[in-house]
């Protein structure tokens, strides 16, 4: 078998990449179970490595039972609140990247004027701006969304500006000889060429976006996945933290997968010959 080409797999694995990808995860799970079972056998009050049964029990109350204090299903309210913040943050960032990135990439005058400003903003660590955001926007939703935007938009803007700036000069000349105005060049050439790259940048920004979301929720919030994790940390409630972390991972993976599927569907030409 060849490691480089992936051809000539042993017959059991042939063509089954999903199965192959699940093997390391399964090994990790088994390892955890062994450690957890071992520790629980020694100490029945063990909290650091709860058994799956304890997790189900703890999560049951959050998922299926109304919280007595707030009257909400906490797990779902947390998920909804977090996804709303994340969605707003990602949406605003994407729109900003599209508009500013395209202008920076395609129009030299715009780049000369604003390029340095964008770079200067991009090098500031976003978390250092969090106090400012809290002071300016208060402790509500706006500050959390703003942190995500401040965190990922500069990267996306710069990535898109670089990409559109590097589009072959020949194509721009060709479009002009075909009668395209600057507006038409933007609309019919730069924009569609930039879209797959924008989705790519968005996918790469998902990780940082989650980091900023959880950070903002941890510091000042009363609902949200990050808030819950940091809240129950006080009680060493690993039986809640671990399922929440797994849930966040699943959500992140689903969003990433959906974006990839969207890009493949809308822009098949950008994904090589395999369409």
């Amino acid at each position: 078998m060849s490691w480089l080409t992936g051809r000539d797999w042993p017959s059991g694995f042939k063509g089954n990449k999903v199965l192959l990808g699940l093997v390391p995860i399964a090994i990790l799970l088994v390892l955890y179970l062994i450690v957890a079972a071992d520790r629980n056998a020694i100490n029945p009050a063990e909290k650091i490595t709860p058994m799956p049964s304890a997790m189900v029990e703890a999560m049951w109350a959050l998922v299926f039972e109304k919280d007595q204090l707030s009257g909400r299903y906490l797990f779902w309210s947390d998920t909804l609140a977090s996804l709303q913040r994340l969605g707003l943050g990602l949406g605003i960032s994407t729109l900003t990247a599209l508009v500013v990135g395209l202008l920076l990439g395609v129009l030299p005058t715009f780049r000369a004027t604003f390029g340095m400003t964008v770079t200067s903003i991009a090098v500031i660590p976003p978390i250092a701006l969090l106090p400012i955001l809290f002071i300016v926007f208060g402790l509500g939703e706006t500050a959390k969304v703003a942190l995500i935007v401040v965190g990922i938009a500069p990267f996306m803007v710069r990535d898109l500006a670089q990409y559109t700036g590097d589009l072959p000069r020949e194509q721009i000349v060709k479009a002009q000889t075909l009668g395209a105005s600057t507006w038409q060049l933007m609309l019919r050439f730069a924009l569609p060429q930039a879209m797959p790259r924008l989705i790519q940048a968005l996918r790469l920004s998902l990780g940082p976006a989650w980091v900023f979301l959880i950070s903002a929720e941890a510091i000042a919030s009363d609902i949200g996945l990050g808030y819950r994790i940091f809240l129950v940390r006080r009680y060493l409630a690993m039986d809640v933290i671990l399922p929440y972390v797994i849930w966040i991972a699943i959500l992140a993976a689903l969003i990433d997968w959906a974006l990839r599927a969207l890009s493949l569907r809308l822009y098949p030409w950008a994904h090589g010959d395999s369409h």
């Binding site: 072959p168 020949e170 194509q171 000349v173 060709k174 479009a175 002009q176 000889t177 075909l178 009668g179 395209a180 105005s181 507006w183 038409q184 609309l187 019919r188 050439f189 569609p192 060429q193 822009y267 098949p268 030409w269 950008a270 090589g272 010959d273």
Partner: protein, 266 residues
């Protein structure tokens, strides 16, 4: 015949470096002019001038008696060696792009009857270059030869006054290149094109052109390579063309250009 494109005492200088000097050139309507010359002799600079990508530092360029603007306008069609077609558009989309830009300034897209008319026109053009069966393919799915056919169709649909070819067949296999030679000769005759082609291939320059220009430096200062620019050192009109044309016409009869056998990933 009247001069379609005319360059009068044109110079191109970048600071102290002189790239082209004393270019005087009249290109007749319907001519097929090949430009050859060693690397760095200003072939591309000449093309950029005519294309409008660069302005001459001295002298004037006129097209049909009017001063040429230093902008890439639709009177000039161009086919580059690479990157000539838009990867995000299908063959048909690439070809109607020029019509859409002209007729829909705001949206850049045509709908309804206008679109149908554009599609019809484009399909006809694509059939002429042998891409009639490949309307819905994306450039990434086509061979280099097919992409160049598309680039030519895309440029010709705007009916440019002059077609500029920048080593259009340089990246193609010899067999495909021969097909393309037949195609461009056929189109040149059918559409009465005026063509300016820059090439490295001397044989190509002579077999296609009705006139061959050689650019080179006529004077060289070994201590200051930028002191003198290149100019037209040979300007050959090819009378042999008549005999050659008969030969090509004979070839055309039994050869129909098509994209067959060129599809790589369809």
């Amino acid at each position: 015949m009247s001069a379609a494109l005319s360059l009068k005492n044109v110079w191109v200088e970048y600071g102290d470096k002189i790239v082209l000097e004393r270019i005087n050139l009249d290109i007749d309507e319907g001519a097929f002019v090949s430009v050859v010359g060693p690397s760095g002799a200003g072939k591309s600079s000449l093309l950029k001038l005519v294309l409008g990508q660069a302005a001459p530092s001295r002298g004037s360029i006129t097209l049909d008696g009017e001063k040429l603007k230093a902008e890439c306008t639709p009177e000039r069609g161009v086919v580059f060696q690479r990157y000539s077609v838009f990867s995000h558009l299908t063959v048909l989309g690439n070809t109607i792009f020029g019509l859409e830009c002209e007729e829909a300034p705001l949206t850049g897209r045509l709908f309804g009857a206008k679109r149908r008319a554009a599609v019809e026109k484009a399909t006809e053009m694509l059939q002429a270059v042998g891409l009639g069966d490949a309307l819905d393919l994306y450039p990434a799915e086509m061979s280099g030869g097919m992409q160049q056919r598309l680039a030519i169709a895309q440029a010709l649909i705007k009916r440019p006054r002059i077609l500029l070819l920048d080593e259009p067949f340089g990246a193609l296999d010899p067999g495909i290149r021969a097909d393309m030679h037949t195609l461009i000769t056929k189109l040149w005759r059918e559409y009465s094109l005026t063509i300016l082609m820059v090439t490295h291939d001397i044989q190509e320059a002579f077999s296609l052109g009705t006139r061959v220009l050689t650019l080179d430096k006529s004077r060289v200062d070994p201590h200051a390579p930028g002191r003198f620019g290149a100019t037209v050192v040979y300007d050959l009109s090819l009378d042999r063309r008549l005999a050659k044309e008969a030969e090509i016409a004979a070839e055309l009869v039994d050869e129909t250009p098509s994209g067959e056998g060129e599809i790589t990933n369809a």
